[in-house]
Amino acid sequence: MTITLTVDGKKVTVEDGATILDAAKKAGVYIPTLCADEDLLPFGACRLCLVEVQGDRRPMLPACTTPATDGMVVRTSSPIIDKTRRNVVELLLSDHPEDCLTCPQNNRCELQRVAAYVGVRTNRFRGEKHAYPIDDSNPFYRRDLDRCVLCGKCVRTCDEVQQLGAINFAYRGFRTKIATVLDRPVATSTCESCGQCVDKCPVGALYPEAWLRYGLPTRETKTICSYCGVGCGLILQTRGNTVVGVRGDPDNPVNRGRTCVKGRFGYEFINHPDRLKKPLIKRDGAFVEATWDEALDLVAQRLAAVVRESGPDAVALLTSARCTSEENYLLQKFARGVLGTHNVDHCARL
């Protein structure tokens, strides 16, 4: 079933169950949000998406949680909407560091975008500000709660997407913050460092440690993760020939934007000086660089010699979880069909 409604004068048809925000997106109408996310359930916390619905007794409704209904007439801007949104952002900025230019999230920040849209020009609500210590206990990402807007995306990602629940809202009132169990540093918590929350954070509260060392990437390249057989889609972010960041490929059907800790944060070996790029053959007690042909010939020679001298069962083959299923199939085929042994095992059994 479909629903047709009007958003800012534009007629738009959406599926039953869509929210006003979904409809506005489809109609090409921008509604500011901080807590809404396509991968997460509607939350209704930031109150920036308030809109007017003609005929409703409530003055304003959140677009992100209100279902679209047939014939609905929605206005996304009016004096009271604009004023409320501006005051909400002004309130947020009254408890936010004023250091955008040196913030790791600079130019990627959703709060910057929203503030620019609503047009906050002053701050009349100055008062107490949070001054939390930065949590740098985790080697992969930093947690700077002074910048947190409590949109809850990290909490919901950990809960709804990763099903881990390592963090949640804690305390009340102005003291409300996102905390691990017993409010301990991330490194000693149940966090698995998958970085999903870091990826979702709209502000500079959660950011990869590497962002302290690098500015914005200049290029993004789609690739497949080489760590395991799952084959997640990754987007490598580079500056020149240096990989400075990774994000999950949202279009890849295997992982739909998600990664594990290795895929997201374990990329710095790529530019490491000790990284092996060519095969080495030990000659006179020392490893010497060789070509792939030389190395493969040597392996074939030695395997053939062992089989000849001691029989096929003198050889065993161990495969890896980093290989795909097809590669693992090929290896056992090689063991049985070429070498003639059933001695095949896999590191996942260790």
Binding site: L50, N87, G173
Partner: protein, 619 residues
């Protein structure tokens, strides 16, 4: 197990006859939290001790609060064939006199007796309905409080308990129960005033594998204790209301969400559940019918916001008590994703009499849109701090000056705060306005759950606004920005004003922020949090301006704006103030006028309180 009401009633009557023979004297002791706090347990111990020495046999019955918190501890004596005489402000010391005189010498001590809880005066003691405190009250919700032993299901049953449940199950369909509640005009007593019958109908019509009913007993407004008194004094009435609600809606399980700070209420609820289960009034096949329903008690961990229904449901599910937007409404998707109906304690307590006496009986009381009675916890600067129940439509003046006995210490009325932190302050111009949902909203306050705090001319209205905002800010769940940060910034502005650092534009800023918090917040807590500020600006703007423009607190409350000095004429040099000053701010020799050093003085008010000559002045 009973499959009809007559046999249940017969059991209860035989039980009462067995345990409480009619030829035996009964002594009722008020042991609600108010009675216990006033020393009721010491009185009970003295009573037991004295009775053991006396040649009379008497039954001691602990009862709940009858409403006269200002006269606690209460001890009532009922001798066979005589009316119930209520003694007030009883102490362990006065117990021997009362018992000996009353029980041995047939002498009702008029000087110690407060009233006859009965229709006629007795031996010079007035009947309770003759007292201004009770004369205009009408007790429906509090019908049993202070009259029955809350831990005895038999007593509840002989007071028509569970008759309404039997009537609903045997004579009415779920639809006709809902129709009766609709026709009664009963509205939610938790504060918002949504029509109860309509709420039930939505939930009944909503499709779901299971349905739940929840009793919201998370009473949290500062100064409010109506629900606590009902749970402590008449737990079965709430349970009966909940079971009828479940029958009407088609629910198979219920929860009573009671704050853990009400330990006595929880003890009595647990007992009530056990008793009801043992009699087949709860559990499988209630009254032998096909209707099965059971109840779980969930103790709330002390978050004010858990009184908000979506936060309450999250809390039952084991999640953080945090509201979520509606729709979906609880009636569509509530607890565990199933259709759920949530009612306040007082709402449910009203159900049995509505079913038993009919909608017309209920609707005959009250105003056009607010039917029935409402309980209020009457507190503050009023003579009778008490739990009262009055018909809707009574004026604020009748409540405060009639039932409440007027303002304490002969001072002037200034304001009345209704609805707790979500409500607002009403001024003397509202004294003759009727109390009902619409009128209070029109005046900038709300009905709320029934907190009614009376303030006199020694109350600073800016400080009151600051107090309530401090409460809501501390209790905000922090989820939505307007509530979390808006109330914080409003509180900071108020703190500046009471410290004498306010600016005139701060008033406009409070009004603007108040509007944003009201319109922008996710749940009822935030949407109503600015009410105390907005209503005090509306009715007491001059006090704000005095703080800002003249750096003066008219009520002489705000510490930064007052100074203490000692009157040269009145001071006798007794040194009492100097010896009690915690910061040694007072100097002076014996028999000579003392002096307060304003630089050291912390304005703690100790000197003024200890002075026997009213020599300490506040400017």
């Amino acid at each position: 197990m009973y499959s009809d009401y007559a046999s249940l009633r017969a059991w209860a009557e035989s039980e009462i006859a067995r345990t409480r023979p009619a030829d035996r004297t009964r002594i009722l002791v008020g042991l609600g939290t108010c009675g216990i706090a006033a020393g009721g347990l010491d009185v009970l111990a003295a009573l037991r001790e004295k009775l053991a020495d006396m040649p009379v046999s008497a039954e001691i019955v602990p009862v709940g609060c009858i409403g006269m918190c200002f006269e606690e501890p209460l001890v009532d004596i009922v001798r066979p064939g005589e009316p119930r005489i209520c003694y007030a402000k009883v102490t362990p010391k006065s117990i021997p006199t009362i018992l000996e005189e009353h029980l041995l010498h047939n002498n009702v001590r008029k000087d110690l007796a407060f009233a006859v809880i009965g229709d006629e005066p007795y031996d010079g003691v007035p009947a309770w309905k003759q007292l201004p405190f009770f004369a205009t009250q009408r007790r429906t919700v509090l019908r049993n409080c202070g009259f029955i032993d809350p831990e005895s299901v038999a007593e509840y049953i002989v007071h028509d308990g569970y008759a309404a449940l039997a009537k609903a199950l045997f004579e009415m369909t779920p639809e006709s129960v809902i129709e009766e509640v609709k026709r009664s005009g009963l509205r939610g007593r938790g504060g918002a005033g949504f029509p109860t019958g309509m709420k039930w109908a939505f939930c009944r019509q909503s499709p779901g594998e299971h349905k739940y009913v929840i009793c919201n007993a998370d009473e949290g407004d500062p100064g409010a204790f109506m629900n606590r008194s009902v749970l402590e004094g008449d737990p079965h009435s709430v349970l009966e209301g909940l079971i009828i609600a479940a029958y009407a809606i088609g629910a198979d399980h219920g929860y009573i969400y009671c704050r853990a700070e009400y330990p006595l209420a929880i003890v009595r609820l647990r007992k009530a559940l056990e008793q009801a289960r043992a009699l087949g009034l709860l559990g499988e096949r209630i009254f032998g019918t096909d209707f099965s329903f059971d109840v779980t008690i969930k103790e709330g961990a002390g978050a004010f916001v858990c009184g908000e229904e979506t936060a309450l449901m999250a809390s039952i599910e084991g999640k953080r008590g945090m509201p979520r937007p509606r729709p979906p409404f609880p009636a569509q998707k509530g607890l565990w994703g199933q259709p759920t109906n949530i009612n306040n304690v007082e709402t449910l307590n009203n159900i049995p009499p509505i079913i038993l006496n009919g909608a017309d009986w209920f609707a005959a009381v009250g105003t056009e849109k607010s039917k029935g009675t409402k309980t209020f916890a009457l507190t503050g600067k009023v003579v009778n701090s008490s739990l009262i129940e009055v018909p809707f439509g009574m004026t604020l003046r009748e409540v405060i000056f009639g039932v409440g006995g007027g303002i304490a210490n002969g001072r002037q009325f200034k304001a009345a705060q209704t609805g707790g932190p979500s409500g607002g302050c009403l001024s003397s111009e509202h004294l003759d306005w009727p109390i009902d949902y619409e009128t209070l909203t029109k005046a900038g306050s709300i009905m709320g759950s029934g907190g009614l705090v009376v303030m006199d001319d020694s109350t600073c209205m800016v400080d009151v606004a600051r107090f309530f905002l401090n409460f809501t800010q501390s209790e905000s769940c922090g989820k939505c920005i307007p509530c979390r940060l808006g109330t914080k910034r409003m509180l900071e502005i108020l703190e500046r004003i009471v410290a004498g650092q306010g600016k005139m534009e701060d008033i406009d800023l409070l009004l603007e922020l108040g509007e944003t918090v009201k319109l922008g917040s996710l749940c009822g807590l935030g949407q109503t949090a600015p009410n105390p500020v907005l209503s005090t600006i509306r009715y007491f703007r001059d006090e704000y301006e005095a703080h800002i423009k003249e750096h003066r607190c008219p009520a002489k409350v705000c510490k930064a704006l007052i100074t203490y000095r000692i009157s040269e004429e009145k001071c006798t040099g007794c040194t009492l103030c100097a010896r009690n000053c915690p910061v040694n701010a007072i100097s002076g020799e014996r028999k000579k006028v003392h002096v307060i050093d304003p630089a050291v003085c912390t304005r703690c008010d100790t000197c003024r309180q200890v002075c026997n000559f009213d020599a300490v002045l506040v400017d």
